[in-house]
Symmetry: C2
Subunit: 162 residues, 2 copies
DNA sequence: CTAAAACATGTCGCTAGGCGATATAATGGA
DNA sequence: TCCATTATATCGCCTAGCGACATGTTTTAG
């Protein structure tokens, strides 16, 4: 260890790195496709995701800003801005909740529905082609992460266990 | 159709939307975790991904800017800037390719390796917990996208299957 | 019933990070 | 040698997310 130049660390010096990197690459590829697809419909990728969230609200809930923020994993103010942009683009519109005047409910416009429908189709098509590769990559990582349990504690061997 | 107010479109008006949205939510959750984990190590999520790419270069290749750009799915100039930042943070360093002076090869510093190792462990831990849910969501979408082949052409029924 | 706490949304200024356009140097083939 | 191609780097711009703050509404405690 002392004699090894620190340049010469090999790809496998961190055991599961390659699999994680491959999985991540799959994700980037999918996200990149989604971005292109959205742009091909004239909207931003985030707006597509926003519409996805709004369009898939469970029947007993409504798409308030905070609900959307929660599902989009964004701060509420970022969500407000996202909805602003989508509203300006004519994809969604705000309504006031009659029972709680603080809340503003967001819903898709007919144009929003149309674009969403188109993008869902495109994504399903893409996933039809690439879901399998993603599954494979994820499965590998999963197998690894299972074997990797308690990798922190004094484990002597970490490689022989499947 | 004429009498329906356009407000009342239900969640299932686009058949597979919920599954796609759920899958996307899983992705966001994972990416959000990755972001937090990276920040907990004092670096940006993109820098972690950069190190992943560099650390997992196949033995017969080297991490040039263009290679990284390709794997990160970024423009080369964005990659240059990403590497700049990572270099400033002491995570990576540039070297010149002796055989092609145009190329600059990027490699991890010892500190970079240390942080990468830590983050890989954190991510494997996380995936140990959530890979299953991601798999499930992906599997659903996949099943759907299979059934959805040629959904464009005049298909009368799209709901009765399964 | 009212004051205060909690909550939901909205506004503003800032910043990071990605991109297009452009520049410069090195390589390779005719 | 000369020029097209390749690889990296630089610059200015712009988007989208965030923290801090503001406003209005509901709920709760007393």
């Amino acid at each position: 260890m002392a004699v090894m130049e620190n340049e010469t660390k090999l790809a496998e010096s961190i055991p599961r790195l390659v699999e994680l990197a491959d999985f991540r690459h799959q994700l980037r590829t999918f996200l990149s496709f989604s971005e292109s697809a959205s742009e091909s419909c004239g909207i931003a990728a985030q707006q597509y995701q926003l519409m996805q969230v709004i369009g898939s609200v469970p029947a007993d809930r409504q798409a308030s800003i905070s609900y959307i923020a929660d599902r989009m994993i964004l701060r509420h103010n970022s969500t407000v801005e996202l909805v602003d942009r989508a509203e300006r683009a004519g994809l969604v519109e705000r309504r006031h909740d009659e029972h709680d005047l603080r809340r503003s409910l967001v819903q898709l416009t007919p144009q929003g529905w149309a674009i969403l429908e188109k993008l869902v189709a495109l994504h399903l098509e893409e996933l039809h082609l690439h879901a399998e590769a993603m599954m494979r990559a994820l499965r590998k990582v999963q197998a690894i992460s299972l074997a990797n349990r308690s990798s922190k504690n004094g484990d002597s061997g970490e490689d022989e266990r499947r």
